[in-house]
């Protein structure tokens, strides 16, 4: 079976700083894979390196068996799309939702935009009344839905999700996570998802990798996490932290 996504010994260097120190990861088709770690651990950098948004110094990245070069071509972006953390920063403030969704279709020369936009909005649970609004007229959860619709409109097979719910309230987070699970089931998508929240990763992903200081600490299954079957102290600390504050003495 060819992996949907295969990264081998990926290094990312900004000036002298090694943000990723030879990280490898393999994501199977249809799988949901999680990346956890604190800020600066390189989890988002790995995602960005795959998307072509961070300079890869060495190592290789393969998507469904096809190695990627220095530049990502259009075909890559039809296959791989990304949803960013901050729904306030990732939507163009002067474009309506309609225009935002039009853009990827225009770039890729896909016609039939009318039905596609309508379908995309429906799929993420927004009524047609949202189509001609600007992003400042939407709530955080609605914006993230638009961002997901924009990623889905090209019918990719792989979604890169960079903390898709960490800017949202807990109740809205639940709605967006449910939506992400729903579209994954309907479209048989592969997810690579970054979060600092172990509970979210445990809920969404079958396997995960814990990262620290640009390196992989360990790879686990969701079941390992539940049974606390972890080998590294760092993972244990993360698990403990996710249980809330414990008063000493």
């Amino acid at each position: 079976m060819t992996a949907a996504l295969l990264a081998e010994k990926v290094e990312v260097v900004f000036d002298q700083f090694r943000a990723l120190k030879g990280v490898s990861v393999e994501v199977h088709p249809g799988e949901s894979f999680g990346l956890v770690g604190e800020s600066g651990s390189g989890k988002s950098t790995l995602l960005r390196a795959i998307a072509g948004l961070a300079p890869v110094a060495s190592g290789s990245i393969t998507v469904t068996g096809k190695p990627l070069g220095r530049r990502r071509d259009k075909a890559f972006y039809r296959q791989v799309q990304m949803v960013f953390q901050d729904p306030y920063g990732s939507l163009h403030p002067r474009q309506t939702v309609d225009r935002l969704l039009q853009e990827p279709l225009a770039v890729h020369g896909i016609g039939d935009s009318e039905t596609r936009i309508r379908r995309a909005l429906e799929e993420v649970g927004l009524s047609s009344g949202f189509r001609f609004r600007y992003s400042h007229q939407l709530s955080g959860g609605q914006r993230q839905r638009v961002a997901i619709a924009r990623a889905l409109i090209l019918e990719p097979s792989i979604l890169l999700l960079d903390e898709p719910t960490s800017a949202l309230d807990a109740s809205v987070q639940a709605e967006v996570l449910n939506l992400l699970e729903q579209v994954r089931r309907d479209r048989k998508l592969t997810y690579l998802m970054v979060s600092h929240d172990l509970a979210v990763i445990n809920h969404m992903c079958e396997r995960l990798m814990v990262m620290q200081n640009g390196e992989s600490v360990e790879q686990l299954t969701a079941a390992d996490l539940v049974s606390h079957n972890v080998a590294q102290d760092y993972t244990r600390r993360l698990l403990k932290a996710s249980e809330g504050f414990v008063r000493v003495g």
Binding site: E38, S39, G140, D169, A170, S171, V172, Q173, A174, E175, L177, N178, E181, Q182, H196, D197, L198, A199, V200, N202, H203, M204, L225, V226, R237, L238, L239, A241, S242, G244, F245, V246, R247, V248
Partner: protein, 278 residues
């Protein structure tokens, strides 16, 4: 006269706008002794505006009214601005969410702490410096002398937040309002900062108002929890009783968070009812 540190009765904060009046806080009442009180709610529930109204930091265009808003028997609403300023920072202090934005970027951390102290107490420069260094050590900064001369952009988020706590506690306040003090921090750092805050609050016998959207965190940290929805208090309960919360909103907030080991697909979502806001 009750011995409470803070008495809030029917607090309202209104923002007049072109399209009508927005009521951010609509009749909030609670009292606080020397304890840790959590205020929880979603964005827009009015939790931060409640904290700001107590501090006297509400936008000047807004109207703040209350049947009673008293700190240690002092009526805050009728207090002249000058006296309120003297109170703020000295007896009532506030920690904000993100040290990146709440510290002055062009003044070194040490000088900011010294400035707070010298605003409220007559101390010599040398003594102020000594006390600032002690305070930095008290928030577990390993090398206070080095950090004293650093600028906010030169330290990590966790260290910036510790410096912020040092600055707020140096004048020895009796009431501390912490508005999402750890939301901008990593989970592991979050607990370190909370442990420091917890120890200092206990040692100094301060009252603490802890504002957060994270119900689970608040319940593990505070003695008592006030749950807010649409500008109102929907439920008040001891943190230990949170699992037995009565209001459907509180139950919904608790329920919708993913938990490790709980296999719930899809997650239960909050079904908001109009009568909660009534």
């Amino acid at each position: 006269m009750s011995g409470n540190l803070l008495e809030v009765d029917n607090l309202k904060v209104r923002f007049p706008t072109r399209t009508g009046v927005i009521e951010a806080v609509r009749g909030v009442s609670f009292s606080l002794g020397r304890e840790r009180l959590g205020i929880v709610g979603e964005s827009g529930s009015g939790k931060s505006q409640t904290g700001r109204a107590i501090m006297g930091l509400t936008d000047p265009r807004a109207e703040v009214t209350a049947d009673r808003l008293e700190f240690d028997g002092i009526d805050l609403l009728s207090l002249p601005a000058r006296e309120r300023r003297a109170l703020r920072g000295k007896r009532v202090a506030m920690i904000l969410q993100d040290p990146k934005y709440s510290l002055d970027p062009v003044i070194s951390i040490g000088r900011q702490i010294v400035e707070t102290l010298r605003t409220h107490e007559k101390v010599s420069k040398a003594e102020a410096r000594e006390r600032a260094l002690d305070m930095l050590a008290a928030v577990q900064i390993r090398d206070p002398k080095r950090v004293f001369d650093l600028y906010p952009h030169e330290v990590s988020g966790g260290m910036g937040q510790r410096a912020m706590i040092a600055m707020m506690l140096i004048a020895g306040p009796e009431l501390l309002i912490a508005d999402e003090p750890t939301s901008a921090l990593d989970v592991t750092v979050q607990l370190d900062v909370l442990a420091i805050l917890d120890r200092l609050v206990a040692e100094r016998g301060m009252g603490l108002v802890f504002i957060s959207h994270d119900l689970r965190l608040v319940s593990s940290f505070c003695d008592r929890v006030v749950v807010m929805y649409a500008g109102r208090v929907v439920e008040q309960l001891p943190a230990s009783e949170l699992a037995n919360a009565q209001h459907p909103y509180t139950q919904g907030l608790l329920d919708c968070m993913p938990k490790i080991g709980a296999d719930r697909h899809p997650l239960p979502v909050l079904a908001r009812k109009a009568e909660w806001a009534a």
